[in-house]
């Protein structure tokens, strides 16, 4: 796999900026070239291959809802707080326009989808972030939705599966967004103390204030191959240190070697892998001793 092409894209620390995968689609045929290996690809062959390149395993970024289709049993997902939106707490310049554009682009109201579903029959609280919505950045609505999901899971004795993709805290909400880190981390901790299992699936890229809060607090941390996982974005580190970063820096593979990821799981195997973990944990909730 050509890792370099994966690392060019995410480019910030705690703040979310838009970053797109540069795929030029042939308007006539609907075909395109793989950004990883350059091979010409057909839409359909990519689709049946879990949105990855059959030649080089390049992973195309997919929306939060498609993720849920991959992981939850058909028709089992019930969404919570689907209409919750951010209220521009600081009346930040151009923020409301950006929110409108993000809604248009992603078809979502916010950067995370939360709810309950079944994974091969196992009931589970699930959240799935969406990179098309302001790079999956966390503002008050994202923080609130995730917090409520963990509180629901604690109350109803459910495990939580979280699929992350994010540029970090949403700077247009200022400190309100930074505090969501503490708020979500607190909700994760309470769920954990009550005996709940929390599995994280890190996808490309997960950085900034999301990594530094709920994304790194899983009992089990899984990642997609090649996913960039970090605190500071690679561009920021390069600018700060004025040096090129080593190849593969902050990739899931090197993060695993550093000791912060339990396993790297390819897209087609993720559902069964998660199911096996839920089964080994008796469904993923164990009443705490005290």
């Amino acid at each position: 796999m050509n890792l370099k092409s994966l690392f060019k894209q995410p480019q910030n620390t705690l703040e979310g900026t838009e970053s797109e995968q540069n795929v030029k689609v042939n308007a006539k045929t609907g075909d395109f070239n793989c950004p990883g290996c350059g091979a010409p690809l057909l839409r359909t062959e990519v689709r049946v291959n879990y949105y990855s390149c059959p030649k080089c395993d390049y992973y195309f970024r997919i929306g939060g809802r498609r993720r849920l289709d991959f992981i939850c049993d058909k028709g089992s997902f019930k969404e919570f707080d689907a209409d919750m939106i951010s209220h521009d707490p600081l009346t930040f310049p151009n923020y409301s326009e950006k929110l409108d554009a993000a809604r248009q682009k992603s078809g979502e109201k916010e950067a995370v989808i939360c709810g309950v579903g079944k994974i091969n029959g196992y009931p589970c609280a699930v959240f799935s972030m969406d990179a098309n919505f302001m790079m999956g950045s966390m503002g008050a609505a994202v923080g609130e939705k995730i917090t409520k999901l963990f509180e629901y899971a604690t109350e109803n004795k459910l495990p939580v599966l979280g699929v992350t993709v994010s540029g970090g805290a949403r700077m247009q909400e200022g400190m309100v967004s930074l505090v969501q880190m503490a708020k979500t981390a607190g909700a994760v901790k309470k769920h954990s103390d009550a005996g709940g299992l929390y599995i994280v699936l890190l996808t490309n890229p997960t950085t900034g204030g999301v990594t530094a809060s709920f994304a790194m607090l899983g009992d089990i941390e899984l990642a997609e191959p090649g996913a960039l996982v970090g605190f500071a974005g690679p561009r920021v580190i390069e600018q700060t240190l004025r040096q090129k970063l080593p190849d593969g820096f902050q990739s899931a593979e090197s993060t695993l070697k550093c000791g912060y990821i339990d396993a790297i799981v390819e897209r087609p195997h993720q559902k069964n892998f998660i199911t096996a973990l839920l089964k080994m944990h008796n469904g993923g909730f164990c009443d705490a001793v005290n």
Partner: protein, 268 residues
């Protein structure tokens, strides 16, 4: 939000090297301070000072992000940019405080957590995340005081507290105004506008419920003229607040702490 004039000027002044730093605050507020080192993992991060001392008659655990004043001091403390080992050292001291029901006092002054290859490889994100989660349920009172720079994740990693206080000349922000300007306006010269828009000074943050108290600084708040009156008042304020927090049951303390953060950005 009301417009607070000159936010950016405040940011620049908060970075001034003659302002009192964490070690000055510790010297002025704490007696018989004993510094304790190391994260028991792999190193002792000099950007964070941790130890135990007396606040009046009360033993307290004190943690400070230290910037130093002179260039050699700044280098020795890595310019107040803490590594993952620093956050873990802080957490180790907090867990010891919890065991002995001793209050925890944090002085926060950092432009941000250290940004570098080793910090990433040693889990900067994990270390901060762990502190957020552990501090939320730490069974002893915590007060965090933003004394100068409250830079993003590196600051909140020591600022999950029953009360978050802020010096009137400090700032607390999700992002440096310069970076914000760079990203949103593609131009650093908009830092002024960015600072204004980010609502990073004490007054709007008080209004948003993000801090609990603003500590009014004297004019020309400089190290050389460290003001006894100011630090006396701070010491008394900390003491009486810890007394009040210590009188709560653990359940009440933790529920109130959780709810305080829970409320920020709540939706009905």
């Amino acid at each position: 939000m009301p417009s607070i004039n000159k936010s950016y000027e405040k940011v620049l002044r908060a970075r001034g090297k003659q302002r009192p730093v964490a070690s000055d605050c510790i010297a002025a507020c704490i007696s018989d301070f004993i510094e304790l080192h190391g994260d028991r993992g792999c190193k002792d991060d000099s950007a964070i000072i941790a130890g135990i001392g007396y606040l009046g008659q009360m033993p307290v655990t004190v943690i400070g992000i230290e910037k130093g004043h002179t260039t050699p001091e700044k280098i020795a403390h890595n310019f107040g940019a803490a590594s993952p080992e620093g956050y873990r050292k802080a957490l180790r001291q907090m867990k010891l405080a919890e065991k002995f029901h001793r209050p925890v006092l944090c002085f926060v002054d950092t432009a941000g957590a250290y940004c570098g290859i080793e910090a990433e490889e040693h889990g900067q994100a994990e270390a901060i995340a762990r502190n957020l989660a552990e501090m939320m349920t730490l069974k002893t009172p915590i007060i965090s005081v933003i004394i100068g720079e409250g830079g993003s994740g590196g600051a909140i990693g020591l600022a999950v507290a029953d009360e978050v206080w802020m010096f009137s000349g400090a700032y607390y922000s999700v992002v440096a105004p310069e970076s914000c300007a760079n990203i949103l306006w593609k131009d650093m010269s908009h830092a002024d506008e960015a600072a204004e828009s980010l609502c990073l000074t004490a007054d709007p943050l008080l209004e948003l419920g993000i801090i609990d108290r603003k500590i009014e600084e004297p004019e020309n708040f400089l190290k050389q003229q460290v003001n006894d009156e100011f630090f006396n008042a701070l010491r008394i304020g900390l003491y009486t607040t810890f007394e009040k927090l210590c009188s709560k049951s653990t359940r009440e303390l933790l529920d109130t702490r959780y709810e305080k953060f829970r409320r920020v950005g709540r939706y009905d």
